[in-house]
Structures are given as structure tokens and as C-alpha cells.
């Protein structure tokens, strides 16, 4: 579907250059107040307001960093290439982080930063309503060996970031109240208030975005823990996952053992290890 004009009106020509007026007249009756074009335009405008609004709701941090107009341009370009293919609006922004990797033009000097923000904000969505499976109990761990597969909660998202954007996104979320409901009514797009954002300096951060008692948390983890959980998430057996975690690590054997113990203690406490999910 062609985007609106800069005045939020329907384009007067179609993608192939023919007249939208004539196209509308061929299908839609005019009435005593509105031409066919104007009646079609009501739907055309609502379509774009609705889909742009749906994506914007999932990325308030990205909007705050970019500013309203550049953000709207970005979302529009994204939606032109990634229209909805799902019955639910929930998934409309799912491809944005990956799409953004190939589009540095929206913030050439801050591309890595906005990419990190987008990744974290989508991880929040996945953690918010992703599935959960009964957690493993203490007794389940006693039979584990090097060949064992350990499963992680479906809602757990692991991120390797170049900026500490968790601070930024948390600051934005404190200022915005999520509207997580869809309805069949015509609605208006809500605008974000201007807010002061924390300054971002480049530094590697590893995050586990997870849900605990129905709230989403961003937990910073160290590099070795990230590599261990990421390997387990890919289905790597426990022994190999541990090897992968400490590959190129400068930690002593003693510190490695302590790290492993700490990783497992925290993950078990938070219920990250779970039974295999039903497919």
C-alpha cells in the first residue's frame, strides 16, 4: 500500500502512475458529502496511523533517541518492506531490529546505538508474553552430565550489546505507560513527551532479558555466562557449552569454577532452566 503524502493524505496516483481518483471511482460510490477518493482515503489514512502506531508502541526508546520525525520515517520505510503477515499486531515490529541492520541511513553516526535500543525493545516484547515451561527442580540437576541438554525458558532473551542501553530504555519506559490492548475502534496515535535521556558511552554489555513473576527484568551478566547460556539455547550439550563459554577466557580455573557455580545458582533461582517445551 502506498504511504500517505507529507500532509497525511492519500496519494493521487497509484504505484503504476495511474489516477487514484479513477481507481476509487471504479469501486466506491460517492455520496452527497464525499467523493469516492475521499471515502477511500478514510481507510487509507487509518491503515497507516494504525500500523505506524502499533510499531511505535513497541519502540518508545528508539523514538526517544531518534526524535519523532526521523522515527516516523524509519517506521514507514520498515513497514513498506515488512507489511503485516500475521493476524495479530503483536508481531508487526518483530523484524525491525534485523531490518535496521541493513539501514544505517537513519542515524549514520549512531547506528550501533539505535540497533542496540531496537534489539532490547524487541527482547522486552518477547520476554513480556513469551511462553514459560515448568522450571527444573534441584533433583533434576543431579543426573546431568557432559552430554546432557539443558533447556532455557522460551521467554529468556540473551543480548550482546555495544552500549548500556538498558539504562536508556528503562528511563524511557518509566516515562511511558504501555497500551497493550488492541480493539476495533478508530484510534489516534499517542505522542511521547520530550525527555532527558542518559548519555550513552560505548561499552560492551551482556543482558539476559527475562520474566519473573510476570514482570520483565534486564539482568546484566558477564561474558562467560552469556556464552554459556547462548550455547545452551542453541541446543549445545552441557560439556561443549561450558568449553565454549570459557574459550579465550582469561579467568583462572578456580575463577571459572566459581563463575559456573554462580551462573547455575542464579539461573536456577530465577527458574531459567526448564523442561523441554512441547512442540
Amino acid at each position: 500500500m502506498r504511504p500517505l503524502t507529507s500532509d497525511f493524505l492519500m496519494q493521487t496516483t497509484t504505484a503504476d502512475g495511474s489516477s487514484t481518483h479513477e481507481l476509487a471511482q471504479s469501486y466506491i460510490k460517492p455520496n452527497d458529502r464525499l467523493e469516492s477518493f475521499e471515502r477511500l482515503e478514510i481507510y487509507n489514512r487509518q491503515y497507516w496511523f494504525r500500523v505506524i502506531g502499533a510499531v511505535a508502541e513497541d519502540y518508545p526508546g528508539l523514538q526517544a533517541v531518534l526524535g519523532d520525525k526521523p522515527f516516523d520515517r524509519l517506521v514507514l520505510e520498515y513497514l513498506k518492506e515488512n507489511p503485516s503477515t500475521s493476524f495479530t499486531l503483536r508481531n508487526l515490529g518483530s523484524k525491525l531490529p534485523q531490518w535496521l541492520e541493513g539501514h544505517p541511513e537513519f542515524a549514520p553516526n549512531r547506528h550501533d546505538l539505535i540497533l542496540d535500543v531496537a534489539r532490547l525493545e524487541w527482547a522486552y516484547v518477547e520476554a513480556f508474553d513469551g511462553g514459560s515451561v515448568p522450571a527444573l527442580l534441584g533433583s533434576d540437576f543431579s543426573s546431568l552430565g557432559a552430554e546432557s541438554l539443558l533447556f532455557l525458558q522460551p521467554h529468556l532473551q540473551l543480548l550482546s550489546l555495544k552500549y548500556p542501553v538498558d539504562e536508556l530504555v528503562l528511563a524511557v519506559h518509566r516515562e511511558t505507560s504501555p497500551s497493550d490492548m488492541m480493539s476495533n475502534a478508530v484510534s489516534e496515535r499517542k505522542q511521547l513527551h520530550k525527555m532527558r535521556l542518559p548519555k550513552m558511552r560505548r561499552s560492551s554489555v551482556y543482558l539476559a532479558v527475562h520474566r519473573y513473576e510476570n514482570s520483565v527484568y534486564y539482568r546484566r551478566i558477564d561474558r562467560e555466562a552469556f556464552r554459556l547460556f547462548a550455547a545452551l539455547q542453541r541446543g549445545t550439550p552441557l560439556g561443549l557449552a561450558l568449553e565454549e563459554a570459557f574459550l579465550e577466557s582469561v579467568l583462572s580455573a578456580e575463577d571459572q569454577a566459581a563463575t559456573i557455580q554462580q551462573c547455575f545458582a542464579h539461573a536456577s533461582e530465577l527458574g531459567w532452566f526448564c523442561k523441554q517445551r512441547d512442540e
Binding site: 471504479s26 469501486y27 466506491i28 460510490k29 455520496n31 452527497d32 458529502r33 464525499l34 469516492s36 475521499e38 471515502r39 477511500l40 478514510i42 481507510y43 487509518q46 491503515y47 494504525r50 500500523v51 502499533a54 507489511p83 503485516s84 503477515t85 500475521s86 493476524f87 495479530t88 499486531l89 503483536r90 513480556f128 508474553d129 513469551g130 511462553g131 514459560s132 522460551p154 521467554h155 497500551s179 497493550d180 490492548m181 488492541m182 480493539s183 476495533n184 475502534a185 478508530v186 484510534s187 489516534e188 520474566r211 510476570n214 514482570s215
Partner: protein, 297 residues
């Protein structure tokens, strides 16, 4: 309330939509509400707070599911993943009936997330009825098709909207969710008498009624669900109840949502039509107060 086979023979009164801004009030005050309507798509997810909250509501209240994306009028067969998730949710909520819209909204796997009007043709009747039957057979609960508000009419139409609705529900053997606000909005946008609509639907198939507020602009009316119900809509509702008998009724209020009490009080105005002996005991209740229409620029 005379129940019928299109609403699972349920004797439901006046309900309101379950909305996030009201959660705190509902859990703290545990108000008496006959039933809540949920938007199915908000709960067709894998886990998290929304489902947890829904389960708490289900422990205490009756819930009916209303969908916004089944698109009975779309040409393709229904999405199986959608149907599976919807069925799982119906098992969870034990909804006695399920409603969605008489519209289209998807084509070739692309979704508009809008309730688009249909050309009222006999070909569309056949295709739409077939899809409703498919959904009804899969879900194994009664389906009610809701009339939408619309802003456009097609040259190809071969009948009025209410004739189309009648043809579809007869062919699909399903119920009707009669939205009297949508009838009013469309009547103003297309220039027909809304009472002709209400007087010509098969009253015995009405499973549920929707009431809502709308916004009037200079050249058309928009279905915004962000106002109290306006007087012309109450008059249509009164006529609908005359024809159907007391029927499960729901107030939709989806934007600029006021307090729980304000929404519930507005919904309970319907009781004066459903049960003339009803007197509200809600403080500040203003049953029967007229609500005037304001033209927006």
C-alpha cells in the same frame, strides 16, 4: 433474558469490555459486573501477565470472547494457526459464544488490521458463510457475526447491508452480534434509515448487542468508542430490544477510557430498556440523562 442457541442459551445481562486501566479497580473493589468481553487477540499469546490476569478474572467473572481479525469476508481460508490459538483460548475462557466481524481485512497473507466493508453480493454471501461455517465447525461453539461501521459503499453491491447480513447468517446458520452504534454510524455515512436496518434483521438470531459512542466530523461519523452512548443510538437500542427481547448487551469504550465506575454506569443505562423495574444503586449514576452529539473539526 431469553437465551438462544446463538449465545449458548446463556442468560447474560449488561457487560463491559475488560480494559487494562480498570484492572486495579476490579481486583481491589471486586465490583459486581454481569460479564466482561475480552478482545481475543490480546490473549492469544504464549504466557505472561495478560494471561495471568485473565485467569484471575475468570475465577470471579463470566467472560465472552470478541475477535477483531478473523475477517469472515476475506477470500482465503482461515489461518490454521490463528484458529488453533483461538480454540485454545476458548477452552481457557469457556466463552459460551464467540463473535467477530462481517468484514474483510486480509489478502494473500497480508493483513490490514482494519475492518473493511464488503461488496454486498451473492458471491460474497456464499464465500463469507462458508468461512463462518469453517470457523464454527473448528471451534465447536456458536459464532455471532457483527455488523461493522463503514465509510464506503461499493458499486458492485446487489443488496442493502441488512439484506446481506440476513443472507450470510441464514447461509452460515450463525448468530448476529448487532452493533446498534455501527448501524447508526453507517446510516449517517450512507444515508439510510437506521430503523429500516433494525426492523429487518432476524431478531431470533441476535446473540448479543453492542452499544458505543462515536465522533461526528463535518462530512462523516467515525466509530471511535471514546464517548458515552449518544441518544440516537439509545433509541435504536430500544427498538432492537423491542424486537429481540432482553439480550446480552455490551458497552464498548476503547479510547480515552474513563474510570471503571463511569464506564459501568454508562453501560447500566441499558438496564432501563432490558428491565424497566431496574434501579441503579451506583453513586452518581445518571441513568437516562441525554447525551448530546458534538461536531468535531
Amino acid at each position: 433474558m431469553p437465551p438462544n442457541r446463538f449465545n449458548g442459551f446463556c442468560d447474560y445481562g449488561v457487560g463491559i469490555g475488560l480494559r487494562v486501566p480498570h484492572y486495579d479497580h476490579i481486583f481491589a473493589e471486586k465490583p459486581v459486573v454481569d460479564w466482561f468481553e475480552i478482545i481475543s487477540e490480546n490473549y492469544m499469546i504464549d504466557g505472561g501477565r495478560a494471561l495471568y490476569t485473565l485467569d484471575q478474572i475468570l475465577d470471579r467473572y463470566r467472560v465472552v470472547q470478541h475477535g477483531v481479525s478473523m475477517y469472515f469476508g476475506s477470500a482465503q481460508p482461515a489461518d490454521r494457526e490463528h484458529l488453533k490459538r483461538l480454540k485454545a483460548l476458548t477452552r481457557r475462557t469457556k466463552t459460551p459464544w464467540l463473535s467477530d466481524h462481517l468484514c474483510w481485512g486480509s489478502v494473500d497473507g497480508r493483513y490490514t488490521h482494519d475492518l473493511l466493508p464488503m461488496p454486498y453480493t451473492f458471491e460474497a454471501v456464499r464465500a463469507t458463510a462458508s468461512r463462518i461455517r469453517e470457523v464454527q465447525d473448528f471451534l465447536e461453539i456458536p459464532i455471532a457475526a457483527e455488523n461493522v461501521s463503514s465509510y464506503a459503499e461499493f458499486h458492485q453491491s446487489e443488496m442493502t447491508e441488512w439484506e446481506f447480513l440476513n443472507e450470510v447468517v441464514e447461509a452460515a446458520d450463525c448468530g448476529i452480534l448487532l452493533d446498534v452504534n455501527n448501524i447508526y454510524v453507517s446510516s449517517q455515512n450512507h444515508g439510510f434509515d437506521p430503523f429500516d436496518y433494525v426492523n429487518n434483521i432476524p431478531a431470533e438470531r441476535v446473540a448479543q448487542i453492542h452499544i458505543a459512542g462515536h465522533s461526528k466530523f463535518e462530512k462523516y461519523i467515525l466509530d471511535t468508542h471514546d464517548h458515552p452512548v449518544l441518544d440516537p443510538v439509545w433509541r435504536l437500542y430500544a427498538r432492537a430490544i423491542e424486537r429481540t427481547g432482553p439480550t446480552a448487551t455490551l458497552l464498548e469504550w476503547d479510547d480515552n477510557i474513563p474510570s471503571f465506575q463511569e464506564v459501568h454506569t454508562e453501560a447500566l443505562k441499558a438496564m432501563q430498556y432490558l428491565d424497566p423495574s431496574f434501579t441503579s444503586n451506583i453513586p452518581g449514576d445518571s441513568v437516562g440523562a441525554p447525551t448530546l452529539e458534538v461536531v468535531q473539526s
